[in-house]
Every structure is written in C-alpha cells, then in structure tokens.
C-alpha cells in the first residue's frame, strides 16, 4: 500500500486518496473550436508509460486537494507529490 506524502497533510496511507489518472491530460481550452480528433484524443488517450508516470490523486479523506504525483508504475516508488499549480489571484480582502 502506497504512502503518499500530501504536501499539505503529510505522509498518508493510500486508502485516504482516490485516483485521478494521467496528470498530463489537458482539457482543450476552447472545446468548440477543437476538431473531433483533438477532442477525442483528450477524452480517450492517456500516457501509459512503463516507468515514471505523472498522475493525479485527490486526498479525498484529507484536505480534499487534487495532487500531482510522479510514480514509477513498476516499482511504485513515488518521486514527487505536489500541489497543482494555482493561478495567482490576489484576492486581498
């Protein structure tokens, strides 16, 4: 069972997380201007490398944040786990 180091909550058992798949899937920013091929690639194609895999997990029983991990899918070694990049919206008050 994996031990995932949530950047917020610390090292936690995998049972606290739910899996979200390939982290490199990017939703086309303007779907309506996207052709069928690009759109269905987005819907159905995933990285499936036999090695380091960038993937999303949600800390569903913890801070509920979606996280980005790099995990070796053969050894299951997790080499990084970080928060998703967040836009800087200076919501000051």
């Amino acid at each position: 069972m994996l031990l995932i180091h949530c950047p917020h909550c610390g090292p936690r058992a995998q049972t606290e997380f739910s899996y979200g798949g390939d982290a490199n899937v990017a939703r086309p920013p303007a779907p309506e201007e996207t052709d069928d091929r690009t759109w269905t690639d987005y819907l159905y194609l995933r990285d499936n490398a036999k090695g380091s895999h960038a993937e999303l997990w949600q800390h569903i029983f913890g801070c509920r944040r979606w996280l980005r991990l790099h995990r070796d899918v053969v050894s299951h070694e997790i080499t990084s786990c970080s928060d998703l990049p967040r836009p800087r919206t200076g919501n000051g008050s």
Binding site: M1, L2, L3, A13, S18, G20, R27, P28, A30, P31, E32, T34, D36, W39, T40, Y42, L43, L56, Q58, I60, R64, R65, W66, S75, H76, I78, L84, P85, R86, P87, T89, N91
Partner: protein
C-alpha cells in the same frame, strides 16, 4: 505406547508440571504444556498422522515449523474446526481435538490409497490428456476429479471468533527471532530506534531453541526490558507491500482452546516501518530417493528440535542421510540423548569427517530406498560411483525407525523476493541467496546464506548433489504435499514444459499449502538434471505472499456482518422504522421502500401511497439527496460551465433544475439548484451520486479551472429534508405555525423561502418530482425528527401519510421523469432524454463538445418514451426488450428496451418508460415487449413519456 518411552526424563522447554490431555482421531493422549501437537504425537509414538494429496500415501511428521508439508490436520471441532493446520505449529492446550485428513474410512485403512496402484496411469497432467470422450461425459469425469480434490474439509458453520486489524508504525522491523534477528534487534534498539521483532514461533530463539545458548537467552531478556522494543511472538510476517508496509498475522488466541473473552483469535497488522531486517533463517533441504516419504523420515533439524525443545525422541534407531557436515554434530546430540545411530550415510566420497565411536560412517553412500508400510522399518543404501549413480550390487539394508535427512539449508528469502530482490546461486552452499540489498531491507543470518562458523551449517564443505536420482520406478517424492515425484518433473521436461514455471504448473510442484518450502530447490535441481543445465540457469518460481497461509477471517477483520460497509441514517430513520417501513438500499442508505399497513400487500401499499400524493398529501424523506453549498465570486460562472443549462439568470430566492454531463457527453447527474444569494447556491444531487458529483466539481475547480474562486462544502448531513406533495400540501403547511407564506403569489413554483415552521428554522423549496404541488422542507438535521412528527401529526384533518421510494418511482414515471440508472445509464445524452431545449447555446459546458461527435448525433439514438399496453391492462415487463415483431428471430434487431415499468394507480393502468431507437419520431407506433426470462410478450404502444398533467398545471397550482 506409554508416555515417556519417546519422551526423555528431563530437559526441553516443556512444563512437566502441567500435564495436558488431547485427542487425535478420537484417541486420548497426553502431553505437556509447551508441547506442540507434533511433539506430543511423537512423544506418544504416533507417527502416522495424515494422507497425502494425490496418492493418499501414509505420512508422518517431517519438519518442525511452517515448512511442514505432511502433518496437516483438522484442528478443533464444530464451528471452530479448521482444515489443513500444521501439527508442527499447533501449541498443545488441554482438551485439544485434532483429526487426520484426506482418508476414508480411516487414517490406517484409506480406500483411496489404492489409487497408488494406478499411479503409473496418473502422471503429472494426466487429466489434460484424457476425459475428452464422449464430450457429454465430461461432467461425470469431472465429478470424480472433484471428488478427489482438496485436502481437508471446509468448516460449515459461521466462525464464532473475532478477528482484529491494527495499524502500526515503527523504525525497524526485525523478521525472525533467531540468533541473527535477536542480535539485529539489540543493536537497532541500542541506537534508540523503535524496534519491532516478530517471530512466527511461540518462543524466541530460532534454531537455538533449547540448545542452552547463553547469548541468545540474555539477548531475549534484554530486549524484553527495553521500552523501545516490541516483541510479537506467534506472529508471521506474511507479506511485503509497497512503501515498507508489511502484513503481519499475530496468532493471539490460537494457542488456547478458545480465545479469552474479548480477545481476538488473530490480529492482522498493517505495519509501516522505515527499515526491515530479514532474519528468517534457513530451512533444511531434504534428499530425494525412492519412498522418501514414509512416516519416520524427517528433517535432521526437526529431529534435533523435538529432542532439545520438547525432550522427545523421534525414533529409537536412526540412519542419517546427509550431504553436508551439519549432520555429524546432530548425530552426536542424537546419540547423547539415547537415539541409536545406525549409520551416517554421507553422499560425499571423501568427506573430512570426524569419528564417532560406535557409529558406522559411510562416505560416498546414499540412501536409495526405504521399507516399511505405514511406518519406517529400514532403508536401503548403496555406494555412489563417481558420476553420482549407484554402484550395482553395493546395496545394503539397514534397520531403523528414523531416517534423518540433511541435504543442506535453503535460506528463507521469501520476503526479500517479494520485495523484488534478485537471487544468485551460491555453489558452496548450493542455494539461492540474496544478490544485493533491496531498499529498506537488510537480509542477515541464515536467510542471507551466512551460516557463519556454526558447525551445523555445513559451512564451506562441499555438498553432494542435492538429490540423487536413481532410475528407480518407485516414487521419489520432491513435493511431499502435492505428491510430485522426480519422475513427474522429468516427464514435464520431456514433454517440453521446460520453463521452471511450466514445470510448476504442469506438475503442481510447490503449489500446496507449504508453497514448496522444502521442495522448490530440489525441484529446480531435478529439472536442471533433466535438462542437463546448470542449476543456476534454471531460475526459480516467483515468491508470492503470503509466506504461510493467512486466515480469510483475519483478512476480513471486523468487516463482517453489519460492518461490511457503513450504513447511513437520515435524521428521520427512527420514524420510518417505527412506522414499519420496508427498506431498500440506496447507496449506503436504507430508504423506505413503502409503508405497508397490516394486511396490505406491497402493491396495495404503493398504490395507496401514490393516490395519497395525487389526491391528498403525503410526505417522503429526501434527506439522502446530496447537497452541496457553493459560494464565491465565480460561482455563477462555475455552474454555467458545469450544467447544460444557464444559471446566471436565476434570481435569488429561486431554484432551477439542472443536468450535468461528463465530458464525453453522457448525462452524469441531475438535480435542482437554489440561489441563496448573489454568490451562494445550494445544489442537490442524486442520492447515489452525491460523492462522485462532489469529486467531479472539485476536479474541475482545482484541476481544470483553478482560476475560478468557488468554495464547495458538502452539507448533505446538515439538513433533514422532507418533501410534502399533493394537492393539499399547501393546506397542510398553512395549517402549521410558520413564518413562511406558501401561497403561489408569495412563493411560486421553483421559489424557495426561509423562515420557521413550528418553531424550527427551515428552508422551503417549492419543487416537485411527483408532478403535484409540492414543497421540500429542509431543517437542520437535529430537528428532522421533530419536523417529520410535526408533518405527520394527523391533527388538522389531513390524513397525511408517509410514502416510500416505490411510490416515488411510480409518480415520476407517470410524469415521464428519467432517473440516473434505469434511463440515464451512463450511455444517454441530453438529447436522448428529450432535453435538447435545455442545452444552452450561449456557453460552453462540460460535455458539450462531445455532443457533436458522429456517434452522438441524434439519428438512430435511443430516446426516452412512454409505453402503454395495447390491450390496456397487461403489465409491461420490466427489463423487457422491445422488438418490431411478436416473433423474435435469431439475433433480432432491437428497437429498444423497457427501463421502468409500473402500475399507475392514478391512471389505473400499467405504464412504462422505455428507451427506443428514434423513439420520439415513433409516437403511436406499436412494438412488442419481450421478456423471455418470464415467457412474456406484450404488445405496447409508444407514447409521450409524460402521462399525467403534461402542461404542469398541477404543480403550479
């Protein structure tokens, strides 16, 4: 035989003050506290303890612990009976009951042992080659094969014992409490680390058990005194999992007749450690020759172990068959304890041996056969020629009742291999040993092939061939449990099953409950010689958890009975129970299905409930629907992107029905959304989808559109919600003490208001699923019970009744509302449901782009429609398939299927919803609803799905 003839007068770790009686195969025997069943049986001179798997050969005690292949018994009785337990690991307790297995009518006279006579026709894999003709007969053949299957009998009653699970954390986990593990524990503990040490035995000491080793004794005492050391005895480390998680099975109650009150029988640990030390020792390897399986044939370490730990002589006159030096020291000890040594038969021609007075030592010899029936009476030995074959004419018989096998030691590398460690072959000890460290695991002691200076280990002394294969037709067993012989391995190789994995599967070598602990290496050696390859090139089969079998009850832990999965309760659950509701599962909830009155059938009750809604007023608990609080400056934008319809025009104080899709264009969920303020909305979801919708929203918010500022809070549990429905619902509410004006002008359809009802703070939403005038009343959960009682109080002349989900189904079917599941089954688009008009043209939303894919184009898709029986009265089969014709040809073209079928009490006739290909263009057409499962074919007419009040006048009333 009386107690004592095999038992020494003194010594051993048993408590002679505590005599214990037990039964084996219904005969009473005695032993001492501290005995195992195996040691006690041996002490009583019981040598035949079981029958083998395939040939039902008589078998005795062979080993000393978890490597035991033979002595599997059924332990305990009644609901506590368990099959296939190793006698070597059963600690004796008073009143213990054990039975032998795999025999009929008795252990001594086992009919199936005659199978051995036909064994030449039952070689490895024989079943693949026969039983094929005539094809019809296979079930009978198979019945016979199944009859022969299995070792023990499965228990038949539910387990009375309790199993516990536990999570633990430590710095260093030491696996094995032999000298190596103890030393490792001590040094780790001295460094201050939090150390756990687990050993599957009842006592620490490993191979040194009972040998009087002072260092070991002191170390055990020191460890016991250290606060940072936790010692788990009777605890098997059975598996190594990712990120240094180990599975441990602690036998907390197995050494007792039954676990103490409140104590679990076994405890399954999930232990996370930083570092593990594998000190699991080594298992002695047998030698292979004809009839090497009789009771009385034992591993030398086992014989020693019974002598030193239990003061039991395993026999009176022993022959030692060895290929390494360790046997000599063993022989001395045996002799010192009164076991006569008939001879030491050493495979090595020029062994640098030491003399033992009175013992015949035969270098360059091997045992090649044994004699005896159900017990060993003697062995045949022969001289070995240079090539390893036996020299003809050199055969000689030696009388003995004990044959000690000593073919070297095989390190226990199971957990290392599970961790992905690679093995390498070491010629000097003729074993596979760890090649290099794996991260987080250190292998030490005998497990690492470090037999040290120990005189038992055989050290650098060259061994003979691990097995000697005489060309004998008699059976030479490699895997004693599964009755796999050297000939089977040869046959597999001859037939082309040459990979070690093929040999395993073809012969079943190593696939028994011992997983080949004593046989795998000999199997490899046999294969190497059959293929004429170096042993190192043969490879080894994969090691897998568990190290020894793990009780299914322990794996399940307390996840049994009601704790298999959580059960959720609404604040009104008590009321439903009191009202005698029949429940139906909805996700983790139990929702009232209907509320039968005495004497009523289910149908009666549902019809009554439906009519109450249509004609009067009734109440349903909808607290299970998911509720999500959304707030933030971008909440409107967010909802617009999530739902197919728009929300920016929704006024504060109003609600709107919304449908959301997955990005592949399929309907994902639906529900109403209420605008609480400029920047706050409350969304409702379907009961089953509450969790997935929340995760879906969080995904889009955090991953796809992180720039949107919206907070999501699940508030399902904050509210108790009752829907009051029916033409008199407003009258009912008006009759209550409330601050809210329910009249249509004040509160039109799809409005919501806050206030209080009967002194309870409430939010009331005028929304309707049933199509009647209806209000959903949400109150803080702690007041749900009071609200329900208030609504159902029959005062005021309203004959209010509660209704359940079955009536709800009928009501929504009458209104043509689809639901997630039957209609929106994950393959339906909004267009399929007739919701094209809802699709906003002004904005993008999740799933929109997919609707333009060719496969989602409207033509040819299944549409939501209604059905009525042509004859007006026949019920429409639920789950029926719609065909064009009454007669279904082979592979007919399907027009669609019935999704929900009900009897409409309101219309007094059966109706149904269905998904029909291009259905909306086919209103009025006739189809046939086929339900071959119950032999029904009903003619139906396609109708609009809305059966009642198509204009929605009732709900706007």
């Amino acid at each position: 035989m009386s107690l004592g003839s095999f038992r020494l007068d003194s010594g051993g770790l048993i408590d002679r003050g505590r005599k214990i009686s037990f039964t084996f195969d219904d005969r009473i025997y005695h032993g001492y506290h501290g005995d195992t069943l195996a040691s006690a049986l041996l002490a009583n001179g019981v040598r035949l303890v079981g029958r083998s798997f395939k040939y039902h050969r008589p078998r005795g005690i062979y080993g000393l612990g978890s490597e035991e292949p033979n002595a599997l018994v059924r332990l305990r009785q009644g609901a506590r009976a368990e099959p296939n337990i190793r006698a070597t690991q059963i600690e004796l307790y008073d009143g213990l009951v054990a039975h032998s297995q795999n025999n009929w009518p008795s252990l001594r006279w086992d009919i199936s042992s005659t199978l051995g006579l036909f064994s030449r026709f039952l070689p490895a894999g024989f079943y693949y080659k026969t039983f094929m003709w005539p094809g019809k007969f296979w079930p009978y053949y198979e019945n016979f094969i199944r009859h022969m299957a299995g070792m023990g009998r499965s228990p038949e009653a539910p387990d009375p014992d309790r199993y516990e699970k536990r999570h633990g954390n430590c710095d260093v986990l030491i696996i094995g409490g032999g000298p190596a593990g103890l030393a490792a524990a001590l040094s780790a503990a001295k460094g201050g680390a939090l150390v756990w040490l687990a050993d599957e035995g009842a006592r620490l000491g490993g191979r040194c058990l009972g040998d009087g080793n002072e260092t070991v004794r002191e170390t055990i005492a020191t460890l016991a005194s250290l606060e940072n050391v936790t010692v788990l005895r009777r605890t098997t480390v059975f598996g190594k999992y990712d990120d240094h998680l180990y599975g441990l099975l602690e036998h907390t109650g197995d050494h007792l007749a039954s676990p103490a009150r409140g104590m679990p029988r076994q405890r399954l640990w999930h232990l996370r450690t930083k570092q593990a030390v594998l000190a699991s020792g080594a298992i002695e390897r047998p030698l292979v020759f004809a009839n090497n399986d009789r009771p009385g044939v034992m591993l030398t370490t086992a014989v020693l172990h019974y002598l030193r730990a239990y003061a039991v002589r395993s026999g009176k006159r022993a022959v030692i068959n060895t290929s390494n030096d360790s046997a000599y020291r063993a022989a001395q000890i045996l002799a010192a304890h009164g076991i006569e040594i008939a001879a030491i038969v050493d495979h090595r021609p020029g062994t640098k041996r030491r003399d033992m007075p009175g013992v015949e030592i035969l270098p360059g010899h091997a045992v090649i056969d044994t004699s005896g029936g159900r017990d060993l009476t003697g062995v045949t030995i022969a001289r070995l020629a240079g090539n390893g074959d036996t020299v003809r004419g050199s055969e000689r018989r030696l009388d003995c009742d004990l044959l000690c096998l000593s073919g070297g030691f095989t390190p226990c590398v199971h957990l290392y291999s599970q961790a992905g460690g690679k093995l390498t072959y070491r010629q000097d000890i003729q074993s596979l040993v760890p090649q290099s460290d794996v991260p987080g695991m250190l292998v030490v002691g005998a497990a690492a092939g470090e037999f040290g200076g120990d005189e038992f280990a055989g050290g650098e002394a060259a061994m003979g061939r691990p097995i000697s294969l005489s060309k004998s037709r008699r059976k030479q067993f490699i895997d004693l449990q599964n009755d796999v012989t050297a000939a089977d391995v040869e046959l597999a190789a001859r037939e082309g099953y040459r990979s070690v994995e093929h040999v395993k599967r073809y012969t079943t070598l190593g696939m028994g409950t011992d997983q080949g602990k004593t046989s795998n290496l000999n199997g490899i050696a046999a294969l190497a010689s059959a293929l004429d390859k170096p042993l190192a090139d043969v490879g080894i089969t994969t090691y897998r958890p568990p190290y020894t079998p793990v009780t299914i009850g322990a794996l399940a832990g307390r996840e049994i009975g009601v704790f298999l999965a959580p059960t959720r309760r609404t604040p009104m659950q008590d009321c439903h129970e009191k009202a005698g509701a029949v429940f139906t599962p909805a996700g983790l909830w139990q929702r009232p299905h209907y509320y039968p009155r005495p004497g009523e059938t289910a149908t009666d009750a549902v019809n009554r409930e439906v009519l109450a809604v249509r004609r009067n007023v009734a109440v349903v608990d909808v607290s299970t629907l998911g509720r999500i609080d959304l707030h933030g400056p971008d909440v409107v934008e967010f909802l617009d992107r999530i739902y197919i319809n728009g929300f920016n025009t929704l006024a504060v104080g109003m609600c709107r029905y919304g449908v959301m899709l997955r990005d592949d264009g399929m309907i994902f969920d639906d529900g109403t959304v209420a605008r609480m303020s400029e920047t706050q909305f409350i969304m409702t979801t379907t009961t089953a989808n509450a969790g997935p919708v929340m995760a879906h929203l969080e995904y889009y918010l955090q991953v796809v559109w992180p720039e949107l500022r919206v907070h999501l809070t699940s508030i399902t549990d904050q509210w108790a919600v009752a829907a009051v429905a029916g033409p008199r619902s407003r009258d009912l509410l008006d009759s209550l003490d409330s601050s809210i004006a329910f009249a249509s002008q004040a509160m039109p359809h799809m409005a919501w208001r806050a206030g209080h009802i009967g002194g309870i703070p409430a939010q009331v939403f005028r929304i309707s699923f049933s199509g009647e005038l209806a209000y959903e009343i949400a109150v803080p959960a702690d007041h749900g019970h009071a609200l329900w009682e208030l609504l159902l109080a029959t005062g005021g002349g309203f004959d209010v009744i509660p209704y359940g989900t079955e009536a709800l189904t009928t009501l929504r079917t009458e209104k043509g509302h689809f639901v997630m599941g039957p209609e929106a089954d994950g393959r339906a688009t909004p267009g399929d449901m007739g919701l094209r008009a809802m699709l906003s043209a002004k904005k993008d939303f999740v799933g929109r782009r997919s609707l333009r894919l060719p496969g989602l184009a409207p033509a040819g898709r299944l549409n939501l429609v209604g059905l009525i029986p042509v004859d007006g009265g026949s019920s429409i089969p639920a789950g029926g398939i719609l065909l064009q014709s009454q007669v279904a040809g082979p592979l007919p073209d399907k027009a669609g299927h019935v999704t929900t079928s009900v009897f409409s009490a309101s219309l007094d006739k059966p109706i149904a919803l269905a998904m029909v290909r291009d259905g909306r263009q086919r209103l009025g057409e006739e189809l046939w609803a086929h339900s071959p499962l119950d032999g029904r074919i009903i003619a139906v007419t396609i109708t609009d799905p809305v059966f009642i009040d198509p204009k929605g006048e009732r709900l706007r009333a």
